[in-house]
């Protein structure tokens, strides 16, 4: 059960975009922006509020890669595996993050909820490949060594 504050926040977000079906995606994006994931209860609530079926809301939420029903870590590390980064060897960087944080292909978030590791297809900073994005900050010219340092730095 989510407490009332979640619904209050959601009402505020709905008010920004208006109670109409076309508002679904931006509303979900903002909810995820606040909570770092999309709580299922809120999705049901949003569907009801903007006048679409729950099934429709889920069909849209599951279609787009960015929406997650699982809570994500405090730091979401997106390792770019776009062409430019791939050619400049991004695979060892992903391996380093996965290995150092004890994650796997099926487990993306650490147990302490500090880190989530994902891949992304292009961050648009190809000139500085290979790149990694932590929340909204892009880190350029990464190496496995710099990846290790970055984890240390984020752990504080």
């Amino acid at each position: 059960m989510l407490d009332q504050s979640y619904y209050t926040k959601t009402d505020e977000i709905i008010a920004v975009y208006g109670k109409k079906p076309a508002s679904l995606i931006p509303i979900m994006q903002d909810i995820q922006g606040v909570y770092r994931y999309l709580p299922g209860e809120l999705l049901t609530y949003v569907a009801e509020q903007i006048g679409i079926t729950e099934a429709k809301a889920y069909s849209v939420a599951t279609f787009y890669e960015n929406f997650s029903f699982e809570p994500k870590g405090k730091y979401v590390i997106k390792v770019c595996d776009g062409t430019a980064c791939h050619v400049r060897k991004s695979a060892p960087i992903l391996d380093t993050f996965t290995k150092e944080l004890g994650l796997s292909k099926k487990k993306h978030t650490t147990d302490d909820m500090m880190f989530t590791v994902e891949t992304v297809s292009c961050l648009g900073a190809c000139g500085l490949a290979p790149t990694v994005m932590v929340n909204e900050d892009v880190h350029p010219k990464m190496t496995p060594e710099k990846a290790q340092e970055l984890i240390k730095e984020l752990r504080g």
């Binding site: 062409t83 430019a84 292009c122 190809c126 500085l128 350029p140």
Partner: protein, 627 residues
């Protein structure tokens, strides 16, 4: 408030005057690349230094004072992303380009170049032993023709006044007061401008089709869902010159009778979203967006939609479905977007670069635009130059420029003196061009003859350390993952193709697999529902055509000449270096290494799984990968 033409003219005149009042402008690049390199901290440092220095005034907007007036500005992409953070010091017409500026350099730059007239040699751009002071002299920039990117690096990307000072909104003014909507459509049509998103469809024809629809509610939509990995041109325009994109869309709205414009920006570009939102708010606050613009009765409203991580939304009908709040899946055409697009209404859908070309065409005329580029492809094209190349970055060149000019003259050749192997154009929807195609002019038609497309403009340069089979597998895995699943050829076909590619890369391929790939590819190409599906097999087809021998090597000889494919790597212990410590044998997860302590060990290749654990942990560097 700017309510009519006179007020706009007055605003332009005052912006032009104001910009001249600066004694020195410190232009810090604030493109995604430079920010990643730390340019925001450099910007803050300059603001701090200028603020603390007596006798000078830091002016964000110039004002009257007897002190020396300095401006510190955040500009759009200055180009050479590799050498960021980039900073330009501008004194009147004189501009000095500094590269790799660190916080520690700011004080010195301020004292020597900003207050004094001394140039810091160490921070200048250098190529082949020559240092360049002015950005326009740097070969990387001197060999470009910048239309869309004209303002990037010169003006504050966030400031409405600076956009005006650079000639902004003169095109809208001309369109609204001196041309009818039909004149505007005609001018664009005559200019020969073609869609810069990849398809190359004539923009004027598209606008004409929308303008003649019976339905009067129409929309202008901008595709900023630049999903091709390795491409960042549109992102750079959205964050570097947001007003120009909006002006282009407003002109399209006027020409086609639309009151609402939507920009669909991909989720990975938070900065583009922020800059566009800022620009829209600035324009709204001045009545330059909204009702009765400049008192002409023309209404235009701008909206921003953020993507949510689906590559297929770059396809027109999927993009409009996503704006409507649906799953972003393409639909069967016809009806086409020009007839039934967003909310089933006639819709002009163009990409960022296409709209950004519009203001200058209206201002300078279609003849001017036609004088640039080639007969069938007029104007310039932006490219993002990435991969194994010396100068990575954002460029704009006339259509018809050759790859050789782009890679060697502008790009400075291969990185670390590598050997050129191929360049991938058009991303996962394109193909590769090799050494023998270096002199092919890049325009829509010519490139098609070589089995690839210009695409949106990503150029990923590959040297001989790149395995073409693995690259084809990489693209296949990308399109497979991004397939929306609506039509069978794409959903099932790309999956089967990927499986075959994975088999070949794992060293388990058969020669017949090449035929199977070609058969599947041809089928998908001719039967898939949308552009994403139709073009998904192109990288495989293109690499088979250009690099068939590499496929055969992988299959028959189990050899990867680029030494990339793990399964092809043969790990060998050099008996001269091995001290027989037995560490590798203990580390080997499958027991492939054996030997007697203090004598050289050996690896059994039939058991080895190529994990590399032995090589990584050898204290004597005795293990290597055999050619």
């Amino acid at each position: 408030m700017i309510n009519n033409r006179e007020e706009l003219k007055a605003a332009v005149a005052s912006a032009k005057e104001q910009i001249k009042e600066y004694d020195v402008r410190i232009l810090v690049c604030s493109g995604t690349g430079c920010i990643a390199s730390g340019s925001e901290k450099v910007y803050e440092e300059f603001v701090k230094i200028v603020g603390e220095t007596p006798g000078v005034t830091l002016t964000f907007e110039p004002h009257d004072s007897d002190e020396k007036k300095l401006g510190v500005k955040k500009t759009g992409c200055q180009g050479v992303c590799e050498l960021g953070p980039l900073v330009r010091i501008q004194k009147g017409d004189q501009v000095i380009q500094y590269t790799k500026v660190q916080i520690a350099d700011c004080q010195k730059i301020f004292e020597s170049t900003v207050l004094g007239d001394e140039v810091i040699e160490a921070l200048l751009y250098k190529q082949n032993g020559i240092s360049y002071k002015a950005p326009d002299e740097i070969p990387f920039i001197a060999k470009q023709t910048r239309i869309v990117l004209e303002n990037c690096g010169k003006y504050d990307a966030e400031s409405f006044d600076e956009y005006l000072a650079g000639g902004g909104f003169s095109a809208l003014q001309k369109a609204l007061f001196e041309m009818t909507p039909a004149d505007v459509v005609d001018e664009i049509d005559k200019s020969g401008l073609r869609g810069r998103g990849g398809g190359g469809f004539p923009t004027g024809r598209k606008w004409k089709q929308v303008a003649r629809q019976k339905e009067t509610t129409r929309y202008v939509v901008c595709n900023g869902d630049e999903g091709d990995p390795g491409a960042f041109m549109d992102g750079s325009v959205m964050e570097g010159d947001p007003y120009k994109l909006i002006e282009g869309m407003m002109i399209a709205g006027y020409a086609c009778g639309a009151e609402n414009g939507y920009i669909y920006v991909r989720a990975e570009y938070p900065m583009s979203v922020a800059r566009l939102r800022h620009a829209i708010a600035e324009l709204e606050s001045r009545n330059m967006l909204g009702e009765n613009i400049l008192g002409t009765g023309f209404n235009f409203y701008m909206h921003i939609n953020r993507g949510a991580g689906a590559f297929v939304c770059g396809e027109g009908s999927a993009l409009t479905a996503s704006i409507e709040g649906n799953r972003g899946m393409p639909r069967v055409k016809p009806p086409r977007t020009v007839e039934k697009g967003l909310w089933e209404k006639p819709t002009v859908l163009n990409n960022v670069e296409t709209y950004a070309n519009v203001p200058k065409i209206i201002l300078q005329g279609s003849d001017w635009f036609r004088s640039i580029g080639t007969e069938s492809s007029s104007g310039c094209k932006t490219f993002s130059l990435t991969g194994s190349i010396q100068n990575t970055g954002l460029i704009e060149v006339p259509m018809g420029t050759t790859l050789r000019e782009i890679i060697f003259d502008i790009g400075g050749g291969l990185k670390d003196g590598g050997t050129f192997k191929a360049v991938q154009t058009g991303g996962p929807s394109g193909g590769c061009l090799t050494e023998s195609e270096l002199d092919v002019p890049l325009d829509f038609e010519t490139v098609k003859k070589y089995g690839t497309i210009i695409g949106s403009g990503g150029l990923v340069v590959m040297d001989d350390n790149t395995c073409m089979v693995e690259v084809a597998r990489f693209f296949m895995s990308f399109t497979q993952r991004e397939s929306c699943g609506k039509c069978v050829p794409c959903r099932e076909g790309t999956k089967r193709m990927l499986e075959i590619m994975e088999k070949i890369v794992a060293g388990k391929g058969e020669l017949e697999d090449i035929d199977r790939l070609q058969e599947l590819a041809t089928m998908i190409k001719s039967t898939a529902l949308c552009g994403l599906g139709k073009s998904a097999p192109l990288p495989v087809l293109s690499t088979i055509r250009m690099f068939r021998d590499e496929y055969v090597e992988h299959i028959v000889d189990h050899k990867c000449r680029a030494k990339v494919c793990e399964a092809m790597k043969k790990y060998v212990i050099n008996p001269d270096e091995c001290r027989g410590c037995s560490k590798c044998a203990k580390n080997c997860p499958v027991g492939a290494i054996s030997g007697v302590v203090k004598k050289p060990f050996t690896i059994d290749p039939s058991v080895c799984i190529h994990c590399g654990a032995c090589k990584e942990n050898c204290a004597f560097d005795a293990i290597y990968i055999e050619d």
